[in-house]
Structures are given as structure tokens and as C-alpha cells.
Symmetry: C2
Subunit: 233 residues, 2 copies
Amino acid sequence: MEITSYQNADRIVVAIDCIIFGFDKEQLKLLLIKRDFEPERGHWSLMGGFLKGCEHLHQGAHRILYDLTGLKNIYLEQLHAFGEVTRDPVERTLSVAHYALIDIEAHAFELSEDYSASWFPIQELPDLIFDHNDMLKAALDRLQYKASHEAIGFELLPDKFTLPELQKLYECIYGRPLDKRNFRRRILSMDVLINTGEKEKSSSKKGAYLYTFDQSKFNKLQREGQNMDLNLY
Amino acid sequence: MEITSYQNADRIVVAIDCIIFGFDKEQLKLLLIKRDFEPERGHWSLMGGFLKGCEHLHQGAHRILYDLTGLKNIYLEQLHAFGEVTRDPVERTLSVAHYALIDIEAHAFELSEDYSASWFPIQELPDLIFDHNDMLKAALDRLQYKASHEAIGFELLPDKFTLPELQKLYECIYGRPLDKRNFRRRILSMDVLINTGEKEKSSSKKGAYLYTFDQSKFNKLQREGQNMDLNLY
DNA sequence: TAAATTAAGTGTTAGAATTACATTTAAAAA
DNA sequence: TTTTTAAATGTAATTCTAACACTTAATTTA
């Protein structure tokens, strides 16, 4: 019996769907698009498209995201392949979901006019098409997981950010308040933040110091397999 | 511009590759098969095949594993989709890798005669075809991760096992020795093991108590989102 | 049948990490 | 000058981690 006969192999449409998380200093949001084609025209959907025969998976994800939203050079990670036979009513497709984290304000201009994508607070999402609700659930779980075991989250903030902003972000991801003193101690002890000395004064009279993320120090720690658990409480 | 035109979508061969980990009370091993077809005839490979148009992804994984090895009803989890355009020299394929954990002795009879699959100690693996080395690397990372954050590992042992056997398994997964007293305390404090009262005497004169894994208690803890980190040292 | 052998099983303690908690400080506004 | 606002900071009780060595049960051997 020849299991692996290329001639007889079925060929399948491979879709890519992108779960785009954003943060605007207040809340965690999800980027959705209103479909202007059948099936499910007019309903909200994740950013999706089909993988081309000549494309790497991650190339395809970046292309689709760019075509639909104008977003480029963003952090994009593979989440999971969704393989239900009937997940798409038109034709059997396999969808490889990817997720991304972005700073909403920094990318506002790319998104604006031409694209029909909108941000929804994570607490007030419309029902999504196909199995996109499952994808979102899986992405949220992954985001929480990643945020507690790696120094993720910086992608969701501007290059310079204050510790109160960073704490707010983590509180959104975890959905609960964190102790300010313990949070600062923990984050700073990772030694991947640099205090720029500049202050951001829009949110208080005293002003909060602006920090930047030290990517090279972070990469070094990761290469060395350092424990990056945040253990936030 | 119509991104999502089903007519124009490329159709791609979707492969499934399975990384099968096994444990025989001594070593962690990997199940490989010698290819008897081109390309790469005669070289060692993961268990692989093509997804059918009518199959769920996980159905396909189970079918392929069964066809190639006779193994059924085993724990199989999706790992990652590998999407390099040139990963297979014959034709562009997307491969969704899955991994499994089994007790080698318990499944020995299913594997035996008819199949040309063999177990290789994880330390002495041959070079694998295509991107199978990358898949293996990713699966090992995932296994280590899972083993430290969930009570995985029981799948690799018989229904009844001793604590020294379980410790040996974890030592194989982590690739380093663990302290016996700390290991026992930690594992038992999870409260998912049941001492059967029976003793297993093949490995010592005194004999070690046989334990079983309390699946329902484990499921309950998982539902409640309990922290399952083992933090073994 | 006593002694030797073998691996299983068991507790303690110093040091580190976690967590809960309240006051001071800097700067602008009144 | 006083008030207001949010940022920044330290400590102590408790829990967890990790290092460490002897006793026990049962078989084997002398």
C-alpha cells in the first residue's frame, strides 16, 4: 500500500486567518473586518485570505494582513491550524491561524481611510464567522500564556512607555488588578527596560519616566534559556 | 481587489507528520520509519502522509499513524504547521506536525512484525529527511515545556507505575538528574496519584509501590485553572 | 539463619522568593 | 502657599525552594 502517493494526494485550499490584538493605553482590542463578499457578507471576521502556492506560510500571513489593513513589519506568530472539514461552507479549507500584537496608536495612520477594519474592545466583540470565535479563544489563551512566561507585551506599546502604562496592559491581558510595587520590582528585575530619563506628563502632574525595551538584552537572555516567567500577582 | 476568491485560490497538498515519543523505563525514544519510496528512499523519516479532502486534521493524523504503525487511540496533539515552499522537493506541501506520547511496552504488539518502524534513543538519532529535524526540535521543546507546566508524562508510562519510574521519565525529558525527595514531595503534592498498595519488585528487593494516575482529579484541577507547574529541580 | 546487599522511602533547615501593605515625592493647578 | 494628583519607594511575615543523609524492607549470599 502506497500511503504517500503524490499523484493521488488531495489538494486543499489553505487559508490564513490573523488575530490582531491591539492596545491603546486603555483597553485590549481586536481588529476585525466586515466581509464584503459571500458567504457571510456583512458579518465580522478576522483578517483572512488564501495561501499562494509560491508563498511561505509566514509570508502569506504578512501579505494578507498588509492587503487588508496596510499593516507591515509587525510581530506575527503562528497559533494553530484549524482543520474541521466543514469550517468553511463554500469549500473544504484548512486555516492556519496567526496572531499579532500591535500598538494601536502607532499604526493608526496605516489603518485609517482605505480599509474597512475596525477595533473592538475585547469585552464587546460581535459574533464572528465560521470558527473564528474558536480561533480568538485560542489566541487569548496563548496571549495570556506568553505574557506570563516571556517578556511579551512590549509589542503592544509605543517605543517609549511608562511603567504605569505597562502595568495597565498586563492588567488588561490578565483581566485583574496588579500590585504596583510588586509589578515594578518584578519587571525591573528582568533588567530589559531602560529608563530614558524623559518624563511623560499627560497623565499626572508629577509625570512618569519613559522606558524603552532593551531588545538585545532580551534576545541574549532568551538565547541563554533564562527563565523569563513574570509571576505577576 | 478580491482577496478571497475561491476560484483563484491555489490548492496545496497538506501533509501530516507525527513525532512519536516513547519511553521504555530506561530511555526516551523516537519512532521512525525507513522510507521505501522516492524521494529519499531508504532514509529515516517521521511517520507522514497526506491529509484527505474529507478528513479533519486530527482524523488524518490518527489514520496515518495507524496505517504506518498499527497504533490506535493514542494521545496526539497538534504541534505546528511547517510551511517552507521548498520543504518537499517533489511538490510544494504544507505539513502540519503532530506529536504523541506512548508507553513503548504497552504498544509493542501493535508495532511489531508488519511495520518497518523502529525506536531510536533520543540521543542516537539518524539524520532525518526534509525538515523533520526541525519538527523534532520543536516537539522536544514542546514536550519539555508541557512536562514542566502540566501533569503530562503519564501517557508515557503504563497504567501502574512506580515513583522511581516516573522520576526516571522526567529525568529523560529534562536531560538531567532530579532530587528524589523533592521530586516525590512535589509530584505527590499535586494530589493526582493514587497509591494502589501493590508493589513492583523487579527493580529492587524492597519493591516500590505502584501508583495510578487519577484522571478525573486531574481534569477537575485543569477545569479550575489550577496551577500545575511542577517546578522540578 | 545471620550478614550483606539493594533500592525505596522519609525530614529538616537555611536561604530565597512571594505577597501584602502605606507613606513620601514631584510637579502643576488653584 | 496650599491643594491636588499620580508616581515612586521599602519592609516584614510568610511561603517556597533546594540541598542534604539516614532508615527500612526484602531478597540474596555466606
